[in-house]
């Protein structure tokens, strides 16, 4: 059951999007997320929607798989919508008991919901189309340009890749410990939340002890293999910026600029500006 958990999910289809340089994808996703918060009318969201649909189709990832990613966030989205709907002051449109729905509230709520949904879809397309290794390499490269983080770029990337390496190992271990504790009569299935949480202690303690031991042994093994941080280190696989990356970068810049331009449109779509 734990094997279903897929952190940093990757869905290989071999599409054009998959083959793009991870750096391009990371930069575009970052710009895209920032842009989402600048959009101030529905034209912008319509454009975003078109862009996302196009990318999804190009990536050949089943739409259902992407939508599944939003499911986990339904609660947060609902909460944001409800809060914004009733708490924004302005012209009243309807009253439900002590609560009033305003025109402004309706507008803000819609925008927030769309923002969140697009944010999740946009970022999950990136993780779905980029292998964990490419992603770490790409992030290491991108972090070089972020002040303060720059000094730790290599270390952070190394930590990420070790975490990814050990997720399946620790999952297996958790399952083994669970089975061992079940064999001794531990009960993980019944009881209320508090007693269930308490029941997890006999799993977590051995898991933590073993994780620390693993970390210690891994550190020794890394040192024995001459690991001494990022200085003077080379990489077998170099990130290569190809023609298609150039083309896609131009397209991506155009998309971001296009999204920005929508904020200047004065003609209202549904909501008055």
């Amino acid at each position: 059951m734990l094997k279903d958990v897929t952190i940093g999910q990757y869905y290989p289809t071999g599409s054009v999007i998959h083959k793009l340089d991870p750096r391009t994808k990371i930069l575009f996703t970052t710009a895209f997320v920032v842009m989402l918060f600048f959009l101030n009318n529905l034209w912008g969201y319509l454009a975003t929607f078109v862009i996302l649909v196009t990318i999804t189709l190009l990536s050949k990832i089943p739409v259902g798989y992407i939508i599944r990613g939003i499911k986990g966030l339904v609660l947060i989205i609902m909460l944001t919508v409800v809060l914004n709907l009733f708490m924004t002051p302005g012209t009243t449109v309807a009253t439900v008991g002590p609560l009033t729905v305003t025109l402004e509230g309706l507008k803000v709520a819609t925008y927030m919901a769309l923002r969140l949904i697009f944010l999740v879809i946009g970022t999950s397309i990136m993780t779905l189309t980029t292998s964990p290794i490419d992603l770490t390499d790409g992030m290491e490269w991108c972090m070089r340009f972020v002040p303060f983080v720059r000094r730790y770029a290599h270390e952070l990337a190394m930590m990420m890749s070790i975490a990814l390496r050990f997720i399946p190992t620790l999952m297996e271990e958790t399952e083994r410990i669970m089975k061992a504790q079940k064999a001794r009569g531990a009960n993980f299935e019944t009881g209320n939340i508090i007693s269930r949480a308490k029941n997890l202690i006999p799993i977590l303690i051995p898991l933590f002890i073993s994780a620390f031991r693993r970390a210690d042994e891994l550190a020794t093994a890394m040192e024995a293999r001459c690991y001494r941080g990022g200085e003077n280190r080379t990489r077998m696989k170099q990130l290569t910026f190809e023609f298609r990356d150039g083309t896609s970068l131009v397209l991506m810049v155009m998309m971001i600029v296009g999204l920005y331009l929508t904020t200047m449109i004065q003609i209202p779509l549904i909501f008055p500006v």
Binding site: R213, R225, C226
Partner: protein, 283 residues
């Protein structure tokens, strides 16, 4: 003397090692005046009971820890000099017991590349070294697999490839088969023996399984931090009683011969393998 030092891979000179303290603030002496040497191209087995100091010794050879007193010389370099640290670790590679806890990367070939990447080898050459190392351990077909999908023996062979890619002169194996099933153990042992035989690699093999070192050039027996016996497998293993006293086993066939001798059967005391046993019995 010059000839001798030229062929010397490792020289351990009167080494003491003390672990600072345990819970009761007492220091623990792990090595108590150990002197030994390993020649180039040799296959040396190191055996000893738990706590005899064999793991401590292996870590000293790779400059992971340093002697409290005495010197460890690897390929003419003293591990005490900090400038030599990385050269020594590259020269004397080390394979550990737990295959899971020494693989770093999420993809097999990336893991093999880890060592040379640390050494700053140019990308193109790393590629060649990785392919070569994977070929030596016969794991090319698994280059793009994830380590957790492999068996214990396969993981251990990847760990060996990771060391080979650093192009060492000597590999120290610290109980590499202890956590493997019999078939995994056979895979790993075949790889180690092949490295020594075909690639002329100096091998130091620390183990609990006596059968694995029956074909070694030399065996060193450690007990309570001291070298107590040293010599060819045949000379070591015929001393069954002494080995048992320090809590060690002998190969199954040697043990059988020993028991038969006690029962009064006239049989040689240095039988090491099933074949030799068959021959001895049929005479």
């Amino acid at each position: 003397m010059i000839m001798e030092s030229k062929n010397r891979m490792i020289d351990v000179r009167d080494v003491y090692f003390t672990y600072p303290h345990n819970n009761e603030n007492e220091s623990v002496v792990a090595l108590d005046g150990v002197s030994l040497h390993i020649e180039k191209g040799e296959f040396v087995g190191i055996i000893g009971h738990n706590g005899s100091g064999k793991s401590t010794l292996s870590k000293l050879l790779n400059a992971i820890i340093f002697p409290t007193q005495g010197d460890v010389i690897v390929s003419g370099l003293n591990t005490k000099d900090h400038e030599n640290l990385w050269t020594i670790r590259q020269t004397a590679g080390m394979v550990f017991q737990n295959p899971d806890n020494q693989l770093v990367a999420t993809i097999v070939e990336e893991d093999v590349a880890f060592g040379p990447e640390n050494l700053g080898v140019p990308p193109q050459e790393i590629r060649e070294r990785v392919d070569r190392a994977l070929a030596v351990v016969e794991m090319q077909a698994y280059a793009h697999q994830k380590p957790h999908q492999l068996s214990g023996g396969q993981k251990q062979r990847i760990a060996i490839a990771g060391i080979l890619a650093m192009e060492p002169e000597c590999i120290i194996f610290d109980e590499p088969t202890a956590m493997l099933d019999p078939s995994g153990r056979r895979e790993v042992m075949e790889t180690i023996k092949r490295l020594n035989r075909d690639k002329d690699m100096t091998v130091i093999h620390i183990t609990h399984f006596m059968e694995e070192i029956v074909a070694a050039d030399r065996i060193i027996v450690l007990d309570k931090g001291k070298v107590v016996m040293e010599g060819e497998p045949r000379t070591i293993f015929r001393q069954v009683k002494r080995l048992k006293e320090i809590g060690l086993d002998v190969p199954q066939m040697t043990e059988l011969a020993y028991e038969l001798r006690i029962e009064g059967l006239k049989i040689a005391d240095d039988v090491l393998s099933i074949e030799e046993m068959v021959n001895a019995l049929c005479q």
